[in-house]
């Protein structure tokens, strides 16, 4: 069965329980703390060790009746694309589509080439920095004490390999809901059969439109550029860019035919030139 996430941002309260639950379940170390000043968002982005990220957007708009404030929150995650750039680019076959139709990285096969990183049109997947016992990049003390040493070794061994949301593959095989959706107190993150979720999202958008909310669906249908529909989609109340989502993503492999053709024609042209030069005189 294809499973996925429907993240209804109108229900998000910005509690970051999803971020914490994800880190806890997947035993991902803290990436250190930095104060950004960007509303309540000190996480800033998804990374090799951050698989849920709550965006905070504070908007103040002058209207005829005075000032209108709104505060948008949205929990971002790997989109598990129908046509995934990372999966297509992976030269080792480490990135696969599993039985739940999720895009999954097998860490023992990944060789850390970093090609998936530049092939994701959503900027999701990233390399996990090598664990440096003397460095301060990861706060390993943030991990459970009994498992600290084991995880430290795993980070060392997997240092440099790619990491991203697994859609809690391990939990799903046991019939559990992914950690983020389980922890979400408002059901802003909904997990389930992806077709059922798509229906639910469409209905929700209609309901909200009836209440005068400018609700837009992102990824329920084809996002364009060859990427197709997403298995983790969103209901937004502003343009996608406001949430750092691309309005017009492009699947990288769609650029290959033009590239190979250009390379082949150049090579052919220069080979003919070379043949003429070397044949004469």
């Amino acid at each position: 069965m294809a499973t996925g996430f429907f993240t209804d941002t109108t229900l998000c309260i910005g509690c970051k329980a999803c971020e914490v639950a994800c880190k806890q379940w997947n035993e991902l170390p803290s990436d250190g703390f930095s104060f950004t000043g960007n509303s309540y968002d000190n996480t800033s982005e998804l990374s090799g060790t951050t698989w849920r990220h709550v965006a905070f957007i504070e908007q103040t708009t002058a209207t005829e009746d005075g000032v209108e404030n709104r505060w948008l929150m949205s929990s971002d995650v790997c989109k598990h694309c129908t046509n995934a750039g990372c999966l297509e680019a992976c030269p080792t076959g480490a990135i696969i589509r599993n039985e739940f139709d999720s895009v999954f990285i097998q860490p023992d096969i990944c060789n850390g080439c970093g090609y998936c990183v530049v092939s994701c049109p959503f900027g999701v997947v990233d390399l996990i920095a090598k664990f440096d016992p003397d460095g301060s990049h990861y706060n390993v003390a943030s991990l459970m004490e009994e498992r600290r040493e084991e995880r430290q070794t795993a980070l060392q061994n997997n240092g440099g390999v790619a990491g991203k949301c697994t859609l809690c593959y391990d939990r799903q095989t046991l019939g559990f809901t992914p950690a983020c959706a389980k922890a979400c107190p408002t059901e802003s993150i909904q997990f389930g059969d992806v077709e059922e979720l798509r229906e639910r999202a469409r209905k929700r958008a209609v309901t909200l439109a009836g209440r005068g909310v400018d609700a837009q669906l992102y990824g329920v249908d084809d996002v364009g550029g060859g990427v197709g529909p997403l298995n983790a989609f969103f209901l937004l109340t502003d343009r996608p860019e406001a949430y750092n989502l691309p309005a017009a993503p492009v699947l990288p492999s769609t650029r290959q035919p033009a590239g190979y053709t250009a390379a082949a024609l150049t090579a052919l042209g220069l080979a003919v030139a070379g043949w003429m030069i070397f044949r004469n005189a």
């Binding site: 908007q59 708009t61 002058a62 060789n111 090609y115 530049v118 502003d238 650029r255 390379a263």
Partner: protein
């Protein structure tokens, strides 16, 4: 008492174009080793054509053919080692040998490299057997079809490095989906000619020089045209590459010193007959400039890709 908050009425937050100007995309984790890999891959590919073109029946071109094949194999052997310095552990290279994936330029490229190594290795053994360095019977290790095969695989290894970059989600690289592969092939061949010319000059084998130089001029002109047209076609997306300090370096090192100056020097060589030692210096200078330009081209491509990834505006609206 609460002080009344008066927002700046001129700013409409709903029209903010980005999310705190944070990058949407992740920047490539590629450093000098990947730059070197792309650069050497281009030369290696170009040498594939040179070893095909060189006429084995002429003594001077025999030497050129032999040098091209030995250098090509040396580069093919060095490249996996360079890639491993990027991957971190040698066995990680082998992970790419478990599948062939037509959708992944990197997968195809690695197989291209492996097959090229095989062809170049066999052709090199043949040369060494003909030279008498290895037992003479070993010359049969390389059947004739391996010569055009090495050229074909060479064209692929030089070209795929361009497709590898341009077929990504990186807006700048994507904007060069035709230009980057074209420039990669042309620059690879120009650098291969330069390296071959340099070896000829060192060995005092001046006869094939004018042919190599004419081919280098053709490749250099193609590269230059590709870059000039790339600037026009890429527009906003090309800014990290063509403007600022990096743009200046590209213009000065790759386009002027690395292409136009060697072209002028090569032209000079074909017009005026210089005394032998002076001519050797001319060839050496032209070759080193071309090679430097080729390296800087790859370096600029990678570095500009990093800057482009950091610009969320470019990533929101990908070039088509």
């Amino acid at each position: 008492m609460l002080s009344e908050f008066t927002p700046d009425q001129t700013v409409d937050d709903r029209r903010r174009p980005t999310y705190y100007d944070l990058p949407l995309l992740k920047a490539p984790h590629w450093e000098w080793n990947v730059v070197t890999y792309l650069f050497l891959g281009g030369i290696m590919g170009g040498l594939g054509l040179i070893q095909l073109l060189a006429d084995g029946r002429k003594e001077s071109e025999r030497t050129l053919k032999r040098d091209a094949r030995i250098t090509a194999f040396a580069l093919a052997a060095a490249n996996p080692a360079i890639l491993i310095t990027h991957l971190g552990r040698p066995e990680r290279f082998l992970n790419m040998m478990r599948i062939v994936k037509f959708k992944s330029p990197m997968s195809l490229g690695v197989w291209g490299l492996v097959l090229y190594s095989g062809a170049a290795g066999a052709n090199m053994v043949r040369e060494l057997a003909l030279e008498g360095v290895l037992p003479r019977w070993l010359r049969f290790i390389a059947p004739g079809f391996l010569t055009p095969m090495q050229a074909l695989l060479g064209a692929f290894t030089a070209g795929y490095t361009g497709v590898l970059l341009s077929a990504t989600a990186n807006p700048f690289w994507g904007s060069g989906k035709r230009h980057i592969p074209t420039a990669s092939v042309a620059s690879g061949l120009a650098s291969a000619c330069a390296l071959s010319s340099l070896l000829c000059a060192i060995e005092g084998n001046t006869e094939p020089l004018h042919k190599l130089e004419r081919l280098e001029m053709a490749a250099g002109a193609t590269e230059l045209l590709a870059l000039v047209d790339f600037r026009r076609a890429s527009g906003e997306y090309g800014k990290p590459f063509f403007e600022g300090a990096r743009g200046k370096k590209l213009r000065d090192t790759t386009m002027i010193a690395g292409t136009l100056v060697p072209m002028a020097l090569n032209l000079l060589g074909s017009i005026i007959k210089l005394p032998k030692p002076v001519d050797a210096v001319r060839v050496a200078v032209a070759s080193i400039l071309t090679l430097t330009g080729g390296y800087v081209l790859r370096e600029s491509l990678i570095e500009a890709g990093k800057d482009s990834a950091r610009d969320p505006r470019a990533a929101f609206r990908q070039p088509t």
